[in-house]
């Protein structure tokens, strides 16, 4: 199934990669323009939030978008009928999209660090942080893509989610900028925690209580996969 995903993606793969790198790097640059006076602390947040913002849309929006497209095109039922355990097929898609997200995230981090002249201190925790972020985003995306029948609704939901993630989740800016209730809401959602584990692996001292973030992310990843698993094994 992994080969199947890779082969069916070869037409849109390259342009997609270019766009993802550009948008990943672009987002942290453009949000810098919104700030009248950029302090070194804010610059560090912008740079270390960039990889999270590059990773999240791939799993959360591109993956369910693909599933929605298969439902519109009618190939969804065909794929379900292939003699492959359905959860294996979900896992293959999620793995593929995780791999797809990595170059963009790396480029976003590298380019934005260059632009804001921020020194990073990479720790070995970066590997689990990146993997858990991508897997969680892809699991939640898979749950949305498989769980919702109407492709239009899927696209609407993922766009609204992306809007919330980009504008109203403390990812590129410190939590102190956001009202308390919004911070509380984000405590229970995965997005800010994705930024936290990545930021923790890229800097010294900007993030505390990262264990809780890992726990919340693991819970979302498990719940997303379980939901997606139930949705695909349902008989239609």
């Amino acid at each position: 199934m992994l080969r199947f995903e890779a082969l069916s993606a070869r037409a849109w793969f390259l342009p997609y990669l270019v766009i993802q790198v550009l948008i990943g790097a672009g987002i942290s640059v453009l949000f810098g323009f919104y700030v009248p006076r950029l302090t070194p602390e804010l610059a560090a947040y912008l740079v270390t939030g960039a990889p999270a913002l590059a990773l999240i849309p791939v799993g959360l929006a591109a993956l369910p978008g693909l599933t929605a497209g298969q439902k519109s095109a009618g190939s969804y039922e065909y794929l379900r009928s292939l003699p492959v355990p359905r959860l294996a097929s979900v896992a293959a898609t999620a793995t593929f999209f995780t791999g797809l997200a990595l170059p963009g995230a790396a480029a976003a981090l590298f380019l934005s660090a260059l632009r804001y002249d921020v020194a990073l201190s990479l720790s070995p925790l970066l590997v689990p942080a990146v993997l858990l972020t991508s897997v969680t985003a892809a699991s939640v995306g898979a749950a949305i893509g498989h769980g919702i029948g109407n492709p239009l609704l899927t696209n609407l939901l993922t766009n609204v989610l992306l809007f919330f993630v980009i504008l109203y989740s403390p990812i590129l800016f410190p939590e102190s900028h956001y009202p308390d209730w919004l911070v509380q809401v984000n405590e229970w959602l995965p997005f800010t925690h994705m930024a936290s584990v990545l930021r923790d692996a890229l800097t010294d001292g900007l993030v505390t209580d990262v264990a809780r973030s890992y726990a919340v992310l693991a819970a979302w990843a498990a719940a997303g996969l379980a939901l997606a698993g139930v949705a695909v094994s349902r008989r239609g």
């Binding site: 672009g26 919104y34 700030v35 009248p36 504008l167």
Partner: protein, 259 residues
Amino acid sequence: VTAAPVAQPLRAGAGFWLEGAGSMLRWHLTGLRLLLPVVVAVQLLMGIGFVFAIGLFAPELPPRSAFFAVTGPAVVTLLNVGLILGPQLIAQQRIDGTYDYVRALPVPRSAAAAAWYGVTVVVGLPAAAATLAVGAVHYDVGLVLSWRLLPALLLTTYTGAMIGYATAHAVAEPRVTIFVSQLLIFVLLGFAPVNFPPEQMPGWLAELNRAFPFLPMGTVVRDALDEGFTSSLLESYVVLTAWAGAATALAVVLLGRRR
């Protein structure tokens, strides 16, 4: 027996043009009615949603930045329908195969374009007004309305609508059209000084924007809400009119192209 010649209504003249534009306007609005809740939601998110978000990115905005945070998202709501939704609808027509049918309707090209402009105004203006009102209260920014607001809003909406219209008719591949429209919104929100003052971006990028339509759109709208906002009002109107004219010409030529 020979049939008596049937009188054919004249397919020309102001009456025919107006009738065509009116029919197309009704056509668009009827076609959009299922999408309308989504369109309204998008308008509110892109307008009011951005107004609040800018304050989260930078608490304690200086007055000039706050003025941009109020007026910028209003400009964006004027452009959403023309620049984003329009091209995507036309791309969808190409995918569905209804594109040629719509082109074949007996309506003058300019009337069809005018009807689409009517749609962008009907959906854009209320959203812009709501965004301005909410923003002015949220940031405590005093707006001074002048008569220049009307031409500024109408020309901004028109230019956006025609750029989107020309793009959608110029590009045959629907996926490319959708990509271009997304690229435009990305530039509009991030790389043009619309939601934030030009001095917050690198000087060369701000200078570059003077030749493109987004900065002048912001300038003409802001000047109509704050007396003496700019000393380059004429330049902004000239640049904007040039873009509007070029996009209109391109759209009308493309619509009339035979294949």
